[in-house]
């Protein structure tokens, strides 16, 4: 009996403690004392080798000059788990001050959770971000006009192609005919029918919500001259531009020019696919394996000059989290980590593009020494980001589900599937 009471007591205490914790006050979206507070902070950065190297250097440089405001850094995985880790940490109030690995599509959710600090509440917040990133910064603004993320670096995706396989298929490897949909499809057919490659191109055919970023979205951005899939709370793709992109990918899959099954490893590296849609981070990686590669912008229906073609950014932003006690220091660190010098380090070490207006001129030495990256540096000026709505992930999943069914599997009409997905996205936007 007594034992039972004791158990009940323990349970009651635990529940009470929890509800108390839930009611205690804390920082939200408004300017707070924390924003001017200085002291030690913690940060997380991505765990891939290149970014760890940059992160360590950045932290060391800062710590050397700021004995009272030391940074402690930890690594988190760049992959799928990082969003759930951050969601859980926000709920428990255990987030660090800064995370140098935010997925822009997840920002809306983190913001709605109350996990993020609105950077525009710092006196120089908006002006700093807009001066650094220019007009592209607008894509990272939330619906309430605040900046809950600092657009940090992008990996504008382009079509990588394997010159040797193109030559083997009898295609011009220096000026590959990949600009219009008709050219692209004809080249793709030739690559496969000639036996040069198993697949012309092999985007991941799986159902994860972020996969549209590497098939539908970049082509749609290019086709529309820079439109996102959702604008002002409405899906934009249920129209001729969206249909054109859908028909293009439908042809790719119905003619077996791309794999419909998950591929273990990287089909491009293994020489199974002649092309890949990927950003500049891959140069260092592909360069080792496929010496002879080239990169061109993604195709559009009627062909668009390279210097006018848009694409998906594959960007990461930096978020400042509301559980941070010394947000004043965090903001200083954020500015330090995105300064001209540190951005240069980032570019140099990782080959990823800092989201700055003056990229090509500021780092002209780098691009002169690494001509492979130049085309990506230029492409970085014309990128499109995923929506920043709290329902972004659900929206992208809706698009993905329609896409895998109608376009990859060829089950049903691609256009009406897009219409359905657009309708679902509109209703989701209403909830946000």
């Amino acid at each position: 009996m007594q034992r039972r009471t004791r158990i009940a007591l323990v349970a009651a205490t635990a529940v009470a403690a929890l509800s108390l914790a839930a009611c205690s006050s804390g920082g939200g979206g408004t300017a707070t004392d924390a924003m001017t507070s200085h002291g030690p902070i913690s940060i997380w950065y991505s765990n891939n080798a290149a970014e760890v190297e940059w992160g360590k250097g950045m932290v060391e440089a800062w710590n050397a000059d700021h004995p009272d405001e030391q940074i402690t850094a930890q690594e988190i995985p760049a992959g799928k788990s990082s969003e759930e880790v951050i969601t859980a940490a926000i709920t428990a109030g255990t987030t660090p001050c800064l995370v140098f690995n935010n997925l822009p599509a997840a920002t809306g959710q983190f913001q709605k959770q109350g996990g993020l600090v609105d950077l525009s509440k710092f006196d120089d917040g908006t002006s700093y971000i807009e001066a650094r990133s220019g007009a592209i910064a607008d894509q990272y603004k939330s619906a309430d006009g605040g900046f809950y993320q600092l657009p940090w670096k992008s990996n504008p995706v382009m079509i990588f192609y394997n010159k040797d396989l193109f030559t083997a298929a009898g295609l011009d490897a220096e000026n590959p005919p990949l600009s219009t949909y008709d050219e692209f499809l004809a080249s793709a057919k030739q690559l496969v029918s000639s036996g040069a490659a198993t697949y012309a191109i092999n985007p991941s055919p799986t159902s994860e919500f972020f996969q549209p970023n590497f098939d539908f979205i970049p082509l749609y951005a290019a086709q529309t001259g820079g439109k996102g899939i959702v604008e002002d709370g409405k899906a934009t793709f249920a129209n001729d531009d969206g249909y054109a992109v859908a028909d293009f990918w439908s042809s790719i899959y119905s003619d077996d020019l791309a794999g419909k099954e998950k591929y273990e490893g990287d089909a491009f590296v293994d020489g199974k696919a002649a092309m890949a849609i990927v950003g500049p981070w891959a140069i260092a990686y592909y360069g080792e394996k496929i010496a002879n590669w080239g990169a061109v912008p993604v195709p559009t229906e009627n062909g668009t000059p390279a210097d006018e073609t848009y694409t998906f950014s594959d960007a990461k932003s930096v978020g400042m989290y509301s559980s941070c006690e010394n947000q004043g220091t965090a903001w200083d660190v954020l500015k330090f980590a995105t300064s001209e010098e540190q951005d240069g380090q980032l570019l140099d070490i990782t080959g990823q593009m800092p989201i700055r207006t003056d990229l090509a001129t500021t780092y002209s030495d780098y691009f002169a020494a690494n001509p492979d990256y130049e085309v990506f540096g230029d492409q970085a000026n014309r990128t499109v980001e995923d929506p920043t709505d709290p329902e972004s992930v659900a929206m992208m999943q809706a698009l993905r589900d329609a896409y895998t069914k109608a376009i990859i599997s060829g089950d049903g009409d691609a256009r009406s599937a897009l219409d359905e997905a657009a309708k679902k996205i509109d209703s989701l936007a209403g909830q946000g």
Binding site: W44, S46, E75, K80, E84, A88, A92, T94
Partner: protein, 284 residues
């Protein structure tokens, strides 16, 4: 083993050997394939790739892991985490299993239902509230205790022990009770020696859960110095695609590194699967 008193005829024995052998190959194949794949210089997913080829062999995948991960620290952390979990699992599992199988007490049915409930509820449903509870309310982040706690009592183990105790003949306990033995004595002197195979089973079955668990220890600690091997390897694997020549080989090498200690443990422990002849214990 001598216990086969119903003798098989020779063809039957051969049939059994063939079936078991074929099954063993089928079951061993993934492990073999994993080892081969982890030693390949370039991934070969064709059928020929399932056989070792001298000009496509390298230990680079292992060297890459070794250079990026502190294997020793990872093993120690895995040992602490898994050891803590297994110890709690066995001690509390035996007690609860014994209570559910042998003892008559009010609340037994409800407790059994609770065990089932805990077993049935998907972890994904509880994950975030559980993390909030442990990290925020109990303040156990970056702490081995916080890592161990959610796994400390394993419902599967409780069910295994319960099933095993149920299988023991009741007369065994009744006889000892008449002799005036207390329940704890009964458990220690009579039941435990008989369930040694069940303990070994429970250890081998529950060992693997925390050993391979990635998400929870990672949620609870971002401190690399405290992370178990599964976490460091998973972290390594999520980004090798960007940094090594043969990403798939690296994944497989990681899996081999993670599985090897478990296989060794199994080889050491499996010989305790010997019969404890209950029949003679009853008579004795």
């Amino acid at each position: 083993m001598s216990r086969t008193s119903t003798k098989l005829s020779r063809p039957q024995t051969i049939l059994r050997a063939v079936v078991l052998g074929a099954g063993a190959i089928l079951f061993l194949f993934p492990f073999y394939y994993m080892v081969i794949g982890s030693l390949q210089l370039t991934p070969d997913t064709s059928v020929a790739g399932a056989f070792p080829s001298p000009d496509n062999i390298t230990t680079a995948n292992y060297e890459a892991i070794n250079s990026r991960i502190n294997l020793f620290a990872g093993l120690i952390n895995s040992g602490i985490f898994t050891g803590g979990v297994v110890l709690c699992t066995v001690v509390f599992g035996v007690l609860a299993g014994y209570a559910l199988a042998i003892l008559k007490w009010r609340g037994r049915g409800a407790t059994f239902a609770l065990v089932l409930l805990v077993q049935v509820v998907p972890f994904q449903l509880l994950m975030i509230p559980l993390y909030v509870l442990i990290a925020r309310n109990y303040g156990l982040s970056d702490n081995y205790l916080g890592m161990i706690l959610p796994f400390a009592i394993n419902s599967t183990a409780v069910l295994v022990f319960r099933q095993y105790f149920l299988q023991l003949p009741r007369e065994l306990f009744d006889a000892a009770r008449i002799d005036g033995a207390g329940e704890l004595t009964l458990l220690r002197r009579v039941a435990l020696p008989l369930v040694r195979p069940a303990i070994v089973t429970a250890v081998l079955l529950t060992f693997i859960g925390p050993w391979n668990e990635f998400l929870w220890p990672f949620l609870i600690t971002k401190d690399a110095a405290m992370q178990p091997l599964a976490v460091s390897l998973a972290n390594y694997v999520t980004n090798v695609a960007a940094s090594t020549a043969n990403p798939y080989g690296s994944v497989l090498a990681g899996a081999v590194v993670l599985a090897a200690p478990v296989v060794i443990l199994f080889i050491v422990f499996q010989r305790y699967f010997v019969s404890t002849d209950v029949g003679s214990a009853v008579k004795g």
